[in-house]
């Protein structure tokens, strides 16, 4: 398993959040919406935006971390969090152009998608259900990573316009 990247298609996202269910079951052993590494934002009904780490090749989050709690997983390209080192200061989520890293609600340590070590559960369930809003592709094809390295609100504007004619 080489470097991978998760491709997204908000048009295909049903907002069902099975990805969040699968993610939190895998990482927390419980269904836990706010501890999911992937979040689906729905600013308006039907505007469903899957939001997760875009693995910027420049890794601004890692650069911003003063305590060296973040590193790249050499196997997958994902950003891994060293919970012992993380102080929960929030520098990384300020540095991230998409505002992706969040604090775990109880541990108060940063959580970021770790690509499940190379076979992401969110992608599997999204495809099991036939939506295909998430897909795994080789990381070398992520030259357009910045498309998704934005806050959900930015994507929402265009989608709203496409679906509802931009009146909002």
């Amino acid at each position: 398993m080489g470097d991978i990247w998760i491709l997204r298609d908000p048009h295909k996202c049903s907002g069902c959040k099975l990805c969040e269910v699968a993610c939190s079951l895998t990482h927390e052993g419980a269904i836990w919406p706010e501890a999911s590494r992937i979040k689906v934002f729905e600013p308006f009904p039907g505007i469903d935006i899957p939001h997760l780490c875009s693995q910027c090749p420049t890794y601004p989050c890692i650069k911003s971390c003063k305590v060296n709690a973040l590193k790249v997983d050499p196997k997958t390209g994902a950003v891994l969090v060293d919970e012992d080192k993380c102080t929960g200061c929030g520098d990384c989520f300020k540095a991230c152009p998409g505002g992706v890293p969040r604090l775990h609600p109880s541990k108060r340590k940063v959580i970021i998608c770790d690509l499940c070590g190379g076979d992401p559960e969110c992608v599997k369930v999204c495809n099991l259900a036939g939506y295909g809003a998430l897909r795994t592709i080789p990381a070398k094809d992520r030259d357009l990573y910045e498309v998704y390295a934005v806050k959900p609100s930015e994507l929402a504007k265009g989608l709203y316009e496409a679906y509802y004619g931009g009146r909002n």
Partner: protein, 626 residues
């Protein structure tokens, strides 16, 4: 006792005294009543049972409940159960809608909310973990659904993103439209523009309490479960089963008009004067072209039967609704003589926006249109409107008048059961024979005359929730889609569409894996479910303060169902009186009820609900004197 599957806490808000407290839930109570509809029956009985007949559902003394169940968050799909004394039936309805408020409540550490009293000024409730605030809502009062949604969403997002956490999910919320504010008895509790708890009329109860919305945000996991490993296996199993429901996934219930009208001849047409039509324009194919989203669902639902319709052009521009689902295709379509999908989408969108139940309002408008057709109501009676079959604009105008209680709308806002009495008085003619309701609740869009859709004659007549098609008694009582079966789904709180045929044991396996309780479907039917229905039945027969039901008169179908179907493949079919009586007898006896449908002493003993004794005496005394 350790709780599994519950937080063991419920929020109690007294709007009159502006007090909020968190109460512990009793383990034994949960074990007996499970959650949602069952827990609602317990809470309502406990708080209001002794004075049930005097409680005005639209008065400050009524309670409004928002409850989750032990399967919330775990079983695929997320539902919330709304309840209280119903301003439609004067009994109790467990009214279930899709809303992520349920999962947020669990994540915030609660199992539900009880609202008491009523506020002087418009307010909304905000629950964020242990912060529970009653907030001013003057800026939201008077607004229609879509405006409320946009304003509140923005306001709550600012709220929830405060703090050094990073980007977090938005709070979920439920709200009412203008109809609820004006205590229209057909008002819904809404979520995300198109989800509605319609049956029961709890939007009016919320409005009576001056409560515009309830928003909830939680950050924790779902409650601890007894057997986590087994539960994870079951979740996978449920996904696999649900993903095989191809038709409902692809079309939702929008196949309904085609199937129920053409095949089973059981769709209301022109106020149930017929139940058959052959309009090919009304197939799912002609609706799906307007879907901007084919698969849409709430948290954890693999079925995603919801479809979003949006009209970008035409005279109905900017209409936004779901499928529409079958019930609204029927009630805001065929029942009004409307066979144009776009007009149907428009009226459904308007009902959603006003916060009116599409079933109840379509049922009522059909009633009005038939009276107009027959010359029993005139243009003058209807403030200059002429609701002819198929006249979309006239129906739209009436809907707005009803939501605003303007002119004739004020009488009609009382719902078909009360409006027909009032109009009969005013006109000096008996008009209730045209009203298609059972015990104050307009019946769902599934006819019983052809016996090909709802196959038994007792499905509405004996329901503890009146005309509610999602709580329709069947024989044998535990049959799929029967009231006893559905009562579990409403108590656990899950979606009946997520329990496919052949998978009836699955929710009970979830219950066991989550709580450790050994309750299976037969035991549910014998004890737990029967207990809940028996309490609901007693509440319904207590009724009051404005209308009371007499089982000898009201355990009946609407008069229309005793008339033969005039058209279609089942022309001539109607309710067969002897067969109906036989079914009534068999059903009562199966539930342990006497000839009037009142629980026998043995039943009270067996179900451990002897606290109903006094109420039963009150009902019997009333029956004797009338």
């Amino acid at each position: 006792m350790e709780f599994y599957g519950y937080n063991g806490k419920i929020i109690e808000v007294d709007l009159s005294r502006e007090k909020v407290r968190v109460k512990e839930l009793d383990y034994e109570v949960l074990n007996k009543y499970i959650g949602g509809r069952g827990l609602a029956a317990y809470i309502l009985w406990n708080e209001l049972g002794d004075k049930w007949e005097e409680v005005d559902p639209l008065g400050s003394e009524n309670l409004l409940l928002m409850l989750t169940g032990p399967l919330t968050g775990y079983y695929p799909g997320v539902k919330l159960c709304i309840s209280g004394k119903s301003p439609q039936s004067n009994g109790m309805v467990g009214s279930v809608l899709s809303s992520e408020v349920a999962i947020e409540l669990k994540a915030a550490g609660y199992d539900g909310i009880v609202i008491k009293g009523s506020s002087k000024d418009p307010v909304y409730l905000m629950v964020k973990e242990d912060i529970i605030e009653i907030r001013e809502a003057k800026h939201l009062w008077g607004l229609r659904g879509r405006e409320v949604f946009l304003k509140l969403k923005e306001e709550l997002r600012r709220d929830s993103t405060r703090g050094p956490w990073g980007l977090r999910g938005d709070p979920a919320f439920i709200y009412i439209g203008p109809a609820g504010e004006r205590k229209v008895r057909m008002a819904t509790v809404m979520a995300k523009l198109v989800h509605a708890a319609g049956y029961g009329g709890y939007g009016a109860v919320m409005g009576a309490k001056k409560l515009k919305a309830v928003a909830v945000k939680g950050y924790g996991p779902m409650p601890k479960v007894k057997y986590p490993g087994w539960l994870r296996y079951l979740i996978r199993e449920a996904w696999n089963v649900l993903l095989k429901q191809h038709s409902i996934r692809h079309w939702g219930t929008t196949t309904g008009s085609y199937l129920t009208a053409r095949r089973s001849s059981s769709e209301p047409v022109r106020n149930w004067q017929e139940e058959w039509h052959e309009e090919r324009s009304y197939s799912p194919r002609s609706f799906e072209v307007y879907w901007i989203k084919r698969y849409w669902g709430d948290y954890g639902c693999p079925t995603t039967c919801m479809k979003i319709s949006y009209l970008r052009t035409s005279e109905f521009k900017d209409s936004l609704t779901d499928g529409p689902d079958y019930e609204l295709q029927a009630y805001l379509g065929t029942n009004l003589g409307i066979f144009d999908p776009k007009a149907n989408i428009y009226l459904s969108s308007l009902a959603d926006d006003l916060g009116l139940c599409g079933i109840q309002i379509g049922n009522l408008l059909g009633f009005v249109a038939e009276l107009y057709e027959k010359g029993l109501l005139s243009k003058e009676d209807l403030d200059g409107l002429e609701p002819k079959w198929g006249d979309v604009e006239a129906f739209a105008k009436l809907m707005v008048k009803i939501a605003e209680r303007d002119g004739i709308g004020d009488i009609l806002a009382e719902g078909v059961a009360r409006a027909c009495l009032e109009l009969s008085n005013l006109k000096g003619i008996e008009l209730c024979k045209y009203a298609v309701h059972v015990k104050g609740i307009g019946v769902g869009a599934h006819g019983i005359r052809s016996r090909k859709d709802y196959t038994q004659f007792i499905s509405y007549a004996l329901s503890t929730q009146g005309g509610d098609h999602t709580s329709a008694p069947l024989l044998p009582p535990l049959k799929r889609w029967g009231e006893l079966w559905n009562a579990f789904n409403d108590s656990a709180v899950i979606c009946s569409f997520n329990v496919p045929e052949g998978a009836e044991d699955l929710p009970f396996e979830f219950l066991k894996a989550i709580t450790g309780w050994e309750i299976d479907l037969p035991l549910w039917g014998k004890i737990h479910g029967r207990r809940i229905l028996t309490i609901q039945r007693v509440m319904l027969l207590l009724g009051g303060p404005d209308l009371y039901w007499d089982p000898r008169l009201h355990d009946r179908n609407p008069p229309k169902f005793y008339e033969p179907l005039p058209t279609g493949p089942f022309k001539g079919s109607k309710v067969v009186e002897d067969e109906f009586k036989r079914q009534v007898k068999e059903y009562y006896s199966a539930l342990g009820w006497d000839e009037h449908g009142l629980p026998t002493n043995e039943t009270l003993e067996e179900l451990d609900i002897k606290f109903l004794e006094g109420a039963i005496k009150r009902i019997k005394a009333r029956l004797k004197s009338s």
